[in-house]
């Protein structure tokens, strides 16, 4: 083994402290957040990068989509605001889907960190906002302009002075300005906390951050390359269908393992759609990389090094590389399928490890006025996940995101609905040597004085989750209003006594029954 600049004991300690500093900032952020998606679903991330925007450490419990996106956002900021133009006290902001996280509902913040007058690092936070204006999220939205306020790359704070014009623009364009701005300032506080913790660490240890970053990157990269290199070279493909609208959406991957790196190309996937299910390239990369890591090297830490051996591509103008002004609010519906598609491609190579496809989450958003008070509430429903060679699929569990449900008692306190049942759809998982996990069956009755607007994100209600190695597909999901199937890709009005039933899909089985 080559001689390292930092010994393995010191490195372990400094590395743990870096991750712990990031986690501490993340925990503080969650506690102050106004967004349900942040607190029930960890739909945010905190990252520490070096002065070049290369990721050093990332909050541990953040959802996989931000693994790749947030460091990339910092690099985009650096292009727009070169290092020599940045000053202590600057805070940068954007929600550009292509440079940010794939949809405008997340606002990303980055703050340069200086030490002895020199730029040494960036603290960055991205988070799903309580509201960003525009339409209530649904998959039928056709262009980004309908989705809400677009925030270009700007300085939110310049040299410690808040840019009031930016603040006023945001406040004017969202439904709940106190809460959205509350979360933005919460992101800024988290960056400052990370700055303080990093300062203490550098002061106490007198370590050079670049040297530490080099060790972190090279060791993570080597571990990931070793995991990939253990597989034989080869090319593998998998085709996965999703509901789509007029026709099915196709995800076609082409996995090339060569030496110690892996490339996933998505040529052959559906063209970009005038709907909000488009997935920008960085999000395509992030969820693909999540699949690679979960399958091949789950314990390798997240940083720039661990993902250097992984690359993705998709032709421009397709659903996994759309052009502006594509809408992308429901990108998760498609993006969440990329990890299982990767596993599908490697099903023959790693039959003992892969998991059959399952279904991403569904949700409903309801808003209106009741007893003199406005309400707006978002609730998630999860589905059945795929089986593996060793076990049945998990029922009613979020994968690959991590979106929790809302307790019935909380749901009914927030909106005038009465839940009739929430139960496991027993037997809805695909049969096999091991069965797919079961979906969820959920029904509620609306009981408000005034009609409410409701929108849905429903997934796998036309195309089932397929099985692997002879396992049967799971059952598809369904959405009905007063017993009649309805189209989830638009808004609906509910009046007192209306009954909604949402059923989520079962996961695919594994092996012949």
């Amino acid at each position: 083994m080559t001689r390292n600049a930092i010994d393995p004991v010191t490195l372990e300690i400094l590395w743990t402290r870096l991750v712990s500093a990031v986690d501490e900032a993340a925990a503080a952020y969650v506690r102050t957040s106004f967004s349900t998606l942040v607190r029930e679903a960890n739909d945010f991330a905190v990252v520490l990068t070096d002065a070049k925007g290369r990721s050093l450490a990332q909050s541990s419990m953040s959802i996989p989509s931000f693994i790749g996106t947030l460091p990339a956002t910092v690099k985009h900021f650096l292009k727009r605001f070169p290092a020599e133009t940045l000053k202590p006290g600057d805070v940068l902001i954007t929600n550009d889907p292509w440079r940010g996280t794939g949809h405008i509902h997340d606002i990303s913040i980055a703050m340069p960190i200086f030490r002895h007058g020199e730029l040494v690092a960036f603290a960055a936070v991205t988070s799903h906002m309580p509201d960003i204006g525009g339409q209530l999220r649904n998959s039928g939205i056709r262009e980004i302009f309908e989705e809400g306020l677009q925030i270009p790359m700007l300085k939110l704070v310049a040299g410690g002075e808040p840019n009031e014009a930016v603040v006023e623009f945001i406040r004017q364009n969202v439904r709940v300005p106190e809460q959205t701005m509350g979360d933005v300032w919460g992101e800024v506080s988290a960056c400052r906390m990370l700055e303080a913790r990093l300062g203490e660490l550098l002061e106490e240890s007198r370590v050079d951050l670049d040297e530490l970053g080099h060790e972190i990157r090279t060791r993570s990269e080597a571990a990931m390359r070793a995991a990939i290199g253990a597989l034989p070279d080869g090319e593998y493909r998998y085709r996965l269908e999703h509901d789509g609208f007029e026709e099915r959406i196709v995800i076609q991957n082409h996995v090339t393992i060569k030496g110690d790196s892996v490339h996933i190309d998505y040529t052959g996937s559906s063209p970009q759609l005038p709907r909000s299910v488009n997935v920008v390239p960085i999000y395509t990369f992030s969820y693909t990389a999540f699949g690679v890591k979960a399958l091949l090297s789950p314990d390798t830490p997240n940083n720039e090094g661990s993902f250097l051996p992984v690359s993705t591509s998709a032709p421009e103008g397709t659903i996994l590389n759309p052009s502006y002004p594509a809408a992308s609010g429901a990108r998760g519906m498609i993006g969440h399928l990329l990890p299982v598609a990767f596993m599908g491609a490697l099903a023959d190579l790693l039959p003992e490890k892969v998991q059959a496809p399952g279904s991403a989450n569904s949700s409903f958003t309801i808003s209106g006025k009741h007893a003199g008070r406005r309400y707006a509430s978002v609730n998630f429903l999860n589905a059945g996940q795929g089986a593996t060679a060793k076990r049945h699929g998990q029922s009613t569990l979020s994968f690959p995101a991590n979106l929790g449900n809302t307790p019935i008692e909380v749901m009914e306190s927030e909106a005038p609905i009465s839940v009739l049942y929430r139960k496991v759809r027993r037997g809805s998982g695909g049969k096999g040597r091991f069965n797919g996990g079961d979906g969820l069956s959920f029904a509620f009755e609306f009981c408000g004085e005034e009609p409410a607007t409701v929108s849905f994100l429903m997934t796998r209600i036309k195309a089932a989750s397929p099985g692997l190695h002879g396992g049967a597909p799971g059952e598809i999901g369904a959405l009905t209003l007063n017993g009649e199937p309805i189209d989830p890709a638009r808004h609906w009005q509910l009046k007192a006594g209306d009954k909604v039933v949402m059923e989520t899909a079962g996961g695919g089985g594994f092996g012949e029954a």
Partner: protein, 699 residues
């Protein structure tokens, strides 16, 4: 010796030993007893220890002088972990029978494709849906039908269940339906025990409340039988005093109340340990205590300010993955807020796929145990590192009962370190450094989350490995003062003796502060106060000396997390609003540096706590320290700050008289542990034999 002074006895059942301490209330003098734990009938060991103590006191009338026996037990935890509860049923609102299977639909590990989730305590076949429905404000949407009750009774009877949990939607707001189900079951089936959610955990969120109620029902008949038997045994021993039980919250209650809601005893043992540390802090006139305990597999830490340990209201039992938050059964009970990490003497060291040295959370256990035990363990543990660094004496481990093999430890360390270029000593120093940093890191975050600065704290070290590592953990936190109380083994018992009587009641009802129904709040809280007072009286507290505080969990409307605002319990009306608002904003600013302009405040859960006043108890050992002047031995220990071995004085701890002052670095040895001070400092023996270490000071 004969006396008329009242005696108190404390007994703590641990995994290996059952410890006991008797105290003469007047003089503070204590006697210690110990026996092997008897897992099949834990009460047997309790009786044995009590007999031992009574014999040691040496007064034939001693039994009659015992005012109370305070007891901590791991029975509830163990029953849940081993899944050895009684056949239990669950009654729920129609449409919610699958709640325990659905859980919260989240994964506790993002990258683990073979995630294992805890099995519900009640299987699907033993759950019964009942036709009734309440709304979110507690209003009756569908009345509970009498026929449904009759049918339920038949089903429970047919299944032969011994215990039933009842958790109906919005039962935390209105307990009428739950109470009727309980009454009907009790009347028809008097031998079946019934737990209702509104009595066990009166809080919003049906999955967590159902899980807590099911766990209570699952253990209830066992705990009740155990406590009845124990009371009988005490009577047979001639003890007239009452039996009191330690709660997870750090208070005690009567045996009857404990038998009713045994889930409140879940963390009874660790809570006693914390109270012992807090008591040591109070005696040392310290306001900010960091209780630090390190044993064979885990390290625990807890902050206590002004004698009050932090209490949390969400807990988990029987985790599938011990150190993974979210992998257990949620239990909503007030519990001392302990952080627990996988760092103990038995924690295994390894080199990961990145070429880094790692310690824990896996443990070598007692078989094969650390390499130096010579039982076939080949992987080095923290104990092996401590041995090679000179922190443990191979010939004086557990008072010399067990010989440690330094050669085997060195070999295991050298083998592990070789591939990453470290020799045995550097590997050992690395393991110690990493495990100390892991513990310091966890404590650092825990303290920051409570809004404190670690440098303001005094660390109180307990547990077998606690005093070995405490100084280095403190140094990493910027803490300069440490206390090391006597007798690690009996420490929990001292905590039991120092514990106050305590009751907790809660009520969840989210409301904007500006729109709060103060009449309702007043009436509900008065009811809870009456009920809690009755329980405190039963537990033997002096009603006049009880501190009542009201803790309101508040947030900005729209947020998910809450902050606690604590006010003295008194008049509940509009006049309380400004205090709540100011209290919230002050702690929000402390924690997050800012407040949120224009946001509305919301109250979520109201918690009423009554406890008998906190007082410090000074204990005096029955066996007095030897008179002859102590003489130190000398041995080499590793000094981390100087990265080399130095020869230092090694003292026998209990040979040192109170008032003696020594200069560190040094080693103080006792049977159960070793205090290592591997840095410059001043070491003083306090009057109650607690050792005080001030780092940096040299005289």
């Amino acid at each position: 010796m004969s006396s008329t002074h009242a005696l108190r006895i404390a007994v703590d059942i641990g995994g290996t030993f059952t410890d006991g301490v008797a105290e003469d209330v007047e003089s503070g003098r204590i006697w210690v007893g110990k026996t092997l734990t008897t897992p099949d009938d834990p009460g047997e060991a309790v009786s044995a220890v009590v007999d031992q103590l009574l014999a040691r006191i040496g007064d034939p009338q001693a039994a009659g002088r015992v005012a109370d026996v305070v007891h901590g037990t791991t029975l509830v935890t163990n029953t849940l972990i081993e899944r050895k509860g009684v056949p239990t049923g669950l009654v729920v609102t129609s449409g919610t029978a699958d709640t325990l299977d659905i859980r919260r639909e989240v994964r506790y590990d993002l990258y683990d494709l073979d995630l294992e989730l805890p099995e519900p305590l009640v299987g699907a076949e033993d759950r019964f849906e009942i036709d009734e429905r309440l709304g979110a404000a507690g209003e009756v949407l569908r009345p509970l039908a009498e026929e449904a009750l009759a049918e339920l009774v038949e089903q429970v009877k047919a299944k032969g269940l011994s215990s039933v949990a009842v958790c109906l939607l919005h039962g935390h707001v209105n307990d009428a339906h739950e109470s009727r189900v309980r009454d009907a079951l009790k009347k028809a089936l008097p031998n079946v025990s019934v737990s209702i959610s509104s009595a066990v955990a009166r809080e919003i969120r049906e999955y967590e409340r159902m899980s807590t109620t099911a766990a209570n029902a699952y253990v209830q008949p066992l705990v009740e039988t155990y406590l009845v038997m124990l009371s009988k045994r005490m009577q047979e021993a001639g003890i007239a005093g009452s039996l009191r039980i330690m709660l997870s919250s750090g208070g005690f209650t009567s045996a009857d109340a404990a038998a009713e809601t045994p889930i409140l005893l879940l963390e009874s043992g660790p809570a006693a340990g914390v109270l012992s540390a807090v008591n040591a802090g109070l005696l040392g006139e310290v306001s900010h205590v960091l209780a630090f305990d390190m044993g064979g597999t885990t390290a625990k830490a807890c902050v206590a300010v002004d004698g009050a340990p932090a209490v949390a209201h969400a807990f988990e039992a029987a985790r599938v993955r011990r150190f993974k938050r979210g992998s257990g059964l949620p239990i909503m009970i007030p519990s001392i807020d302990l952080i627990e990490i996988g760092a103990g003497g038995g924690s295994l060291a390894s080199v990961d796929n990145l070429g880094l040295l790692k310690v824990g959370p896996q443990s070598a256990g007692s078989e094969p145990g650390p390499a130096c035990y010579g039982r076939g363990g080949e992987k080095p543990t923290v104990t092996d590192a401590d041995l090679v660094l000179g922190y443990l004496d191979p010939d004086n481990f557990l008072g010399g009962e067990m010989h440690l093999d330094k050669g085997l430890a060195e070999k295991a360390l050298a083998d592990l370190g070789a591939p990453i270029g470290l020799d045995a000593t550097r590997t050992a120093a690395g393991i110690a450094t990493i495990v100390n940093e892991n513990m310091a890191a966890a404590a650092r975050v825990h303290i920051a989350e409570k809004g404190h600065d670690p440098r303001a704290f005094t660390l109180v070290a307990t547990g077998g490995a606690g005093p070995v590592h405490a100084v280095e953990v403190a140094r990493r936190l910027g803490i300069s003062t440490l206390l090391c109380p006597i007798a690690a083994g009996a420490g929990s018992c001292l905590g039991l003796l120092a514990a106050p009587a305590r009751v907790d009641r809660s009520w969840s009802k989210p409301s904007l502060l500006a729109a709060l129904d103060w009449n309702e709040a007043h009436s509900v809280l008065s009811g809870l106060h009456r009920d809690a007072t009755a329980e405190l009286n039963e537990a033997g507290a002096d009603a006049g000396a009880v501190d009542w505080v009201l803790t309101v969990e508040m947030r900005y409307a729209g947020q998910g997390s809450t902050l606690n605002v604590t006010v003295p319990y008194g008049k509940v009306d509009e006049s309380l609003a400004p205090a709540l608002e100011e209290g919230f904003e002050a702690s929000y600013r402390d924690l997050y540096g800012t407040t949120v302009p224009n946001a509305q405040l919301q109250t979520v859960t109201w918690r009423l706590t009554g406890k008998s006043g906190v007082e410090s108890r000074r204990f005096t050992w029955a066996a007095d320290a030897a008179d002859k002047a102590p003489e130190p031995k000398r041995r080499e220990i590793y000094i981390p700050v100087r990265q080399r071995y130095e020869e230092v004085d090694v003292w026998e701890r209990y040979a040192l008289p109170p008032g003696m002052v020594l200069k560190a670095p040094l080693v103080l040895e006792e049977r159960e542990s070793t205090l290592i001070v591997p840095a410059d400092g001043r070491v003083e023996i306090l009057p109650d034999l607690t050792v005080k270490v001030v780092l940096g000071e040299t005289s």
